[in-house]
C-alpha cells in the first residue's frame, strides 16, 4: 500500500465569509504499480485531494499515509515525501524557468540532494524518455522551444528525480487529438518500462477507460465510487454528476436496448470491434 487515505476532510478559508468545504470524509488506498484515475466535475475536490499527497496542502482532518510517511505527524519530512512523488500540474509548461532546458530538468534532482553528475545523467535520461532530442534542446532556453516540446520538458522535469509515484493533473489539457494520443502513449510506455504507480486526474472518460485499472469518482467533495472503469460506466448513472460516458459505452448500451447484448466490459474501441466481429461471426457479405 503506497497511499492510505482515511476520513480525510478539508475546508478552505475557515471562519471567513468565503468558507468552503472541498473534501468530506474521503477514504481509499492506492497500491504499488496501480494506474488509478480520479474523475469528477470541476469543483469536486480533485486538485485539493492530490495536493495532499505531497504535502502541498497540509492535512487538516483525517489520516494520510504516503510512502510510509504519516502526514498527521507533528513533524513531517516534506522533502523526503516530495522526492517520492512526481507531480505534473495542468499546463506544466508554464512552470519552466531556467536558463536552459537541461538546467530546468536538473532542478528537481539538485533540490533533492543528487550530485551534479547524477543530476546531469538523470536529466539526460528523463529528456530522452520524454521524447525529446537531447542534443537539440539541452542548451536552448525553455521559453523558446515549441509548446509541445515545453510540455515534454516539464514532464522530464518530474521524471528526472525518479519518483515512485506519478501524479498527473489533466496531462492532455489543451492538446489537439494527435497531441493527446502522443502524451498518453508516453505515459503508458513509461509505466510499462518503470512500473511506477500512476494517478491521473482527467475529464476525458475515453482516456480513463483506456488506461486506468481503477477509477475514483468525486462528487460535491465526497468520494462516490471506487471501482473499475467498466463497472462505473455500465452500472452507475454518472451523467447526473456532469460526467460523460465514453461513446463506446453509449453504443453498447443502445445495442443492448435493441436486443444485441455484447456484455458489460467493453470500454475501448478495439474491444467493441472484437466483440462485434465475434457476435456476427462469419455473417459478412
Amino acid at each position: 500500500m503506497q497511499i492510505e487515505v482515511k476520513n480525510l476532510s478539508y475546508t478552505y478559508s475557515k471562519k471567513t465569509p468565503y468558507e468552503k468545504q472541498a473534501l468530506r470524509d474521503i477514504s481509499f488506498t492506492v497500491n504499488e504499480g496501480e494506474f488509478l484515475g480520479i474523475v469528477g466535475a470541476t469543483g469536486s475536490g480533485k486538485s485539493t485531494l492530490i495536493q495532499h499527497f505531497n504535502g502541498l496542502i497540509k492535512l487538516q482532518s483525517g489520516q494520510l499515509n504516503v510512502l510510509d510517511i504519516d502526514l498527521a505527524a507533528k513533524k513531517v519530512d516534506y522533502k523526503a515525501l516530495r522526492r517520492g512523488i512526481g507531480m505534473l500540474f495542468q499546463y506544466p509548461e508554464y512552470q519552466l524557468f531556467a536558463d536552459t532546458v537541461l538546467a530546468d530538468v536538473m532542478f528537481g534532482p539538485l533540490n533533492f540532494g543528487m550530485s551534479k553528475e547524477e543530476a546531469h545523467s538523470s536529466a539526460k535520461e528523463a529528456l530522452i524518455l520524454a521524447g525529446l532530442d537531447f542534443d537539440a534542446v539541452k542548451d536552448r532556453s525553455p521559453l523558446e522551444i515549441s509548446g509541445g516540446q515545453k510540455r515534454r520538458a516539464a514532464i522530464a522535469g518530474v521524471l528526472s528525480y525518479n519518483p515512485k509515484i506519478l501524479i498527473l493533473d489533466e496531462p492532455t489539457a489543451g492538446l489537439d487529438p494527435s497531441g493527446k494520443r502522443e502524451m498518453l502513449n508516453l505515459i503508458s510506455s513509461l509505466r510499462k518500462t518503470s512500473g511506477k504507480t500512476v494517478i491521473m486526474v482527467s475529464h476525458n472518460m475515453d482516456e480513463i477507460a483506456r488506461y486506468c485499472e481503477r477509477v475514483i469518482v468525486l462528487g460535491e467533495s465526497e468520494l462516490l465510487y471506487d471501482t473499475t472503469p467498466a463497472e462505473l460506466f455500465y452500472n452507475y448513472d454518472i451523467a447526473t454528476l456532469g460526467l460523460d460516458v465514453p461513446h463506446v459505452v453509449k453504443i453498447v448500451k443502445k445495442l443492448r436496448d435493441k436486443g444485441i447484448d455484447l456484455g458489460t466490459d467493453i470500454v475501448t474501441e478495439e474491444k467493441l470491434l472484437e466483440r462485434l466481429t465475434a457476435f456476427f461471426g462469419k455473417e459478412r457479405i
Partner: protein, 277 residues
C-alpha cells in the same frame, strides 16, 4: 444566399528574427450569412491566423478579405468591421475586463458610444441569450470555464455582431463546459440568425455544421458537408484529426467486410449494426 465574408486568395506570414512563418498560403472562401461553418485543423494549420484575417485584426500580405462588402484593409472602417465580426478566444479567463459580469458585458457597447438605455437593453438581451442572467452581479472569478466562455460570448453579442467567430473556444474546457458553449452557439445560430464560424480540432463539433472547411498547412484541404468530409478518411488522417468514435467504428467494420455505411453519430451506428442481423 448572401455572402457576409469573402476571402480572395489571402496570404499571411509572421516575420521575426528567426525567419518567416507562412501561416496562410492562398486561401479563398466565402461565408454565407446565417450559416454555421466549422474550420477544422490541427494546431499549426493556420486556423487562428485565418480567424484574425476575418475580422481585420490582421490584414493579408496579399489577397483581400471583404466583410459585408468592405475591404479589411480600409483603416477608417476597421472598428465597423470589428463590431460586425466578433471574436471569442481560447482562454476563458483572459478576455474579461471587469470584476462584475454586467459591467464586463457593457464594455463593448460602451466603447462604441452606444447610448446608456440601449446598453442596458443589450446587456439584458446578451445575458439571456447565453443563459447567464442569474449571474449578472457576480464576479467572474468563481465561475466554471464553460460559464466564463458564455460570458465572453455575451460580451461580444452586446455589440450586436453579424458574425461570431469562436477560435478554439472549447479547447480549454471540460466536457460539460464544451457542451454548454456548443449548445449556446447553436441556439444563437438557429434562433437569432447569427452567422457562426467555429474553429476547432474536435471533429465531433463539426457534426451539425452547414459547411466544414479542413485546413492544413495554411491551405484548404477540402470543404463540404460533414458527411462529405468524414468520408475522406485518408485526408483526415493526413491532418492528424481524429474521427468521432461512431465514424471510426463504421469504417473499421466496413474494412472487415460488413455492410455498414459511414455513421456520423452513435445512433446511426447502432441502427446500422442492428440491420446486420
Amino acid at each position: 444566399m448572401e455572402k457576409i465574408i469573402e476571402v480572395k486568395n489571402a496570404f499571411y506570414s509572421y516575420k521575426s528574427e528567426d525567419g518567416t512563418l507562412d501561416a496562410v498560403n492562398g486561401i479563398s472562401l466565402d461565408i454565407e450569412r446565417g450559416s454555421f461553418t466549422v474550420f477544422l485543423g490541427h494546431n499549426g494549420s493556420g486556423k487562428s491566423t485565418l480567424a484574425k484575417l476575418l475580422n481585420g485584426f490582421l490584414v493579408p500580405d496579399s489577397g483581400d478579405v471583404f466583410v459585408d462588402g468592405v475591404n479589411t484593409k480600409v483603416e477608417e472602417r476597421v472598428f465597423e468591421i470589428r463590431s460586425k465580426v466578433g471574436l471569442v478566444f481560447q482562454n476563458p479567463d483572459n478576455q474579461m475586463v471587469a470584476s462584475i459580469i454586467e459591467d464586463d458585458i457593457a464594455f463593448g457597447p460602451e466603447n462604441l458610444g452606444i447610448p446608456r438605455e440601449e446598453i442596458v437593453e443589450r446587456v439584458d438581451w446578451a445575458l439571456n441569450a447565453v443563459g447567464m442572467n442569474a449571474y449578472r452581479t457576480h464576479t467572474p472569478f468563481k465561475l466554471s470555464g464553460g460559464q466564463k466562455q458564455r460570458i465572453a460570448i455575451a460580451g461580444i453579442l452586446a455589440m450586436k455582431p453579424t458574425v461570431l467567430i469562436l477560435d478554439e473556444s472549447t479547447s480549454m474546457l471540460d466536457p460539460q463546459g464544451r457542451k454548454e458553449v456548443l449548445e449556446t452557439v447553436r441556439a444563437l445560430n438557429k434562433e437569432q440568425g447569427i452567422t457562426v464560424i467555429l474553429i476547432t480540432h474536435y471533429m465531433d463539433e463539426a457534426l451539425d455544421a452547414d459547411n466544414v472547411v479542413v485546413l492544413h498547412e495554411g491551405k484548404i484541404l477540402i470543404q463540404g458537408t460533414p458527411r462529405e468530409i468524414f468520408a475522406k478518411k485518408e485526408l483526415i488522417s493526413k491532418t492528424k484529426l481524429e474521427l468521432p468514435v461512431a465514424a471510426y467504428i463504421s469504417y473499421r467494420l466496413l474494412g472487415e467486410g460488413y455492410d455498414v455505411p459511414l455513421s456520423l453519430i452513435d445512433d446511426e451506428l447502432v441502427e446500422s449494426i442492428c440491420r446486420l442481423r
